[in-house]
């Protein structure tokens, strides 16, 4: 199993913390954490991973570009991305176009990058002015750059966007402002796991639903669990790229509580929204052509 190193994968971290995977008889042979969805998608493509809690956009990339035989069996949350800015330099969205503004974003193909493009579209910003000013770096490096005063604006996934607020940045736009109903992360499994061990997939979905319900009912405790998982237990979970930065940046339960309140945790997933996402990233040229959302979705486990 692999998860992203964010509170997007809260249901996985909480299930791990509570021992709910073991309770259901699911013995994980590996539990790996990745800084970005793109890194996780590459691991999926290499064949290392059978189950992943991953943002929808890199999951689609892995399926369409690398031909990874995966199915989305559940959602984990909606929204969970945002643009944070230095309020002394940026007052409005149009200020992002200014030539002296230093912008940060993850690599192309990440969900945050797609939000960046949606922002450009929605606010009729100049693509050239924005994209030529972008410095591509992963979220922890962006937060560190913000702390060092090297960025004026950053497009980040949660919890990194909320962490940036700790350094005086302000949320300019959240994903729900830019893309209502945006699907955040999803639970994906390899097709052969569905074929050979459908009961395992059923249990995974069940545990995800249980954890999602629990975190919605116990937000304070969920934030504490996440802080513990991301910061303390992280010794073995921290991806190498994040370890150095994480040592300098404290991921507190207060930050996580604020961050997690910005996401709508739900395992429900709308095929229409998935189709919109596929069509949009095809329009951006990130996948060769659009395809039917039903090809990547298997929501039968969710319905049962």
């Amino acid at each position: 199993m692999a998860v992203e190193f964010t509170d997007h994968a809260a249901c996985a971290y909480i299930s791990q913390d509570k021992g709910w995977f073991e309770e259901e008889g699911l013995k994980l042979t590996a539990y790996e954490s990745y800084v970005t969805g793109m890194a996780l998608a590459a691991a999926l493509a290499r064949g290392d991973i059978e189950v992943a809690y991953i943002c929808l956009v890199p999951a689609i990339n892995a399926y369409a570009n690398a031909g990874v035989p995966i199915k989305i069996v559940a959602g984990t949350h909606k929204y969970g991305y945002g643009s944070v800015v230095n309020p002394n330099k940026i007052k409005t969205v149009n200020d992002l176009e200014k030539p002296d503004i230093r912008l940060g974003c993850v690599s192309e193909g990440g969900a945050v990058d797609v939000i960046l493009h949606k922002t450009i579209d929605k606010y009729h910003l100049s693509e050239d002015k924005i994209l030529n000013n972008i410095q591509r770096m992963n979220p922890p490096k962006q937060v560190l750059a913000i702390k060092m005063g090297q960025l004026d604006a950053a497009f980040l996934p949660e919890q990194w966007a909320t962490m940036a607020e700790e350094f005086g940045f302000e949320m300019l736009l959240m994903s729900q402002d830019v893309w209502p109903e945006m699907q955040g992360s999803v639970l994906v499994v390899k097709e052969d796991l569905i074929r050979d061990h459908p009961e395992v997939v059923r249990k995974l979905v069940k545990v995800s639903q249980k954890a999602t319900n629990w975190e919605n009912q116990h937000p304070d405790e969920a934030a504490e669990v996440m802080a513990r998982q991301l910061q303390v237990v992280g010794g073995s979970l921290f991806p190498a790229e994040a370890a150095e930065v994480a040592a300098k940046l404290e991921i507190t339960s207060q930050v996580l509580l604020r961050s997690m309140a910005r996401l709508e945790y739900t395992t429900a997933i709308e095929p229409k929204v998935v189709q919109e996402t596929i069509d949009y990233i095809a329009k951006l040229g990130y996948i060769k052509s659009s395809f039917n959302a039903e090809d990547i979705l298997d929501l039968s486990f969710l319905e049962k």
Partner: protein, 253 residues
């Protein structure tokens, strides 16, 4: 074209054709696990056509080419100019040589973190990197070329009444040209290698940036297209300078 030349060309192309055929067969037969990590050559060419047709490759290629040309020309001209002065004037050579000797071994990409802080992310950054990449080796080769000119030739010219300027332009520089061209030839290919690396790390446009974009989108075909472009450009630049070197220096060799 003579029969011998055609035969020689055929022998040059044959290994490449065999290599491409093996590549295509191995990928088509899925002999390497994970077909998408090893696309057939025909798929790569299809993507090459697609990227060319939609202008993505052209746009990024032109960005890289412009940076290489500006950085390389500026670095080479500066390297040759300073090299001539250092090679021709012993006192200047003695003054600058310790500094050059200290700076020359630093790999061009080693300057990148410093330049990112000094110059920020912009066009000046890759151009400066290419400038540094070209300047020191061309300078070094120019100094070596000039200082290796047989002193007897200079003495003869001086005896015949030639001025210093005349000796430099008609005796020393022509004899140093093979060395200068060796530096230019080697660094013209190196400039491409360096620009790709710089664009991969810090610049949002260019072939290196396209490589990084392809990596994050898991587009192996685009990665291979970029590598082919890089290889062709390194080779073309080196061949161009090898041709110019042969053309201009034959009579002195």
């Amino acid at each position: 074209m003579s029969k011998l030349k055609r035969l020689s060309l055929g022998w040059g192309i044959l290994p490449v054709a065999i290599f491409l055929a093996i590549w295509e067969i191995v990928a088509r037969l899925d002999l390497i696990p994970g077909q998408f990590f090893f696309p057939p050559f025909s798929i790569v060419m299809q993507e090459f056509y697609y990227l060319t047709a939609n202008g993505v490759l052209g746009h990024n290629f032109l960005s890289s080419l412009t940076r290489v040309l500006i950085g390389f020309c500026a670095g080479s001209i500066a390297g040759i100019a300073v090299g001539i002065i250092m090679g021709w004037r012993d006192v200047i050579n003695k003054a600058l040589n310790p500094i050059i000797s200290l700076l020359y071994p630093i790999p061009a990409l080693g300057w990148l973190p410093l330049l990112m802080l000094w110059l920020g992310i912009g066009e000046a950054l890759p151009i400066t990197i290419i400038f540094i990449c070209s300047f020191f080796p061309v300078l070094y080769n120019t100094v070596t070329g000039i200082r290796n000119v047989d002193k007897d030739f200079i003495q003869v010219a001086r005896t015949l009444g030639a001025s210093d300027t005349k000796i430099l332009t008609t005796v020393v520089l022509p004899l140093a040209i093979p060395n200068i061209f060796t530096g230019l030839r080697l660094e013209s290919g190196m400039a491409w290698r360096v620009i790709i690396a710089a664009e991969m790390v810090a610049i949002p446009t260019g072939i290196g940036a396209l490589l990084m974009k392809a990596e994050s989108l898991i587009r192996i075909d685009i990665i291979i297209v970029c590598l082919i472009v890089l290889s062709v450009m390194c080779l073309s630049f080196e061949k161009f300078f090898a041709y110019m070197e042969a053309k201009l220096t034959t009579k002195w060799r």
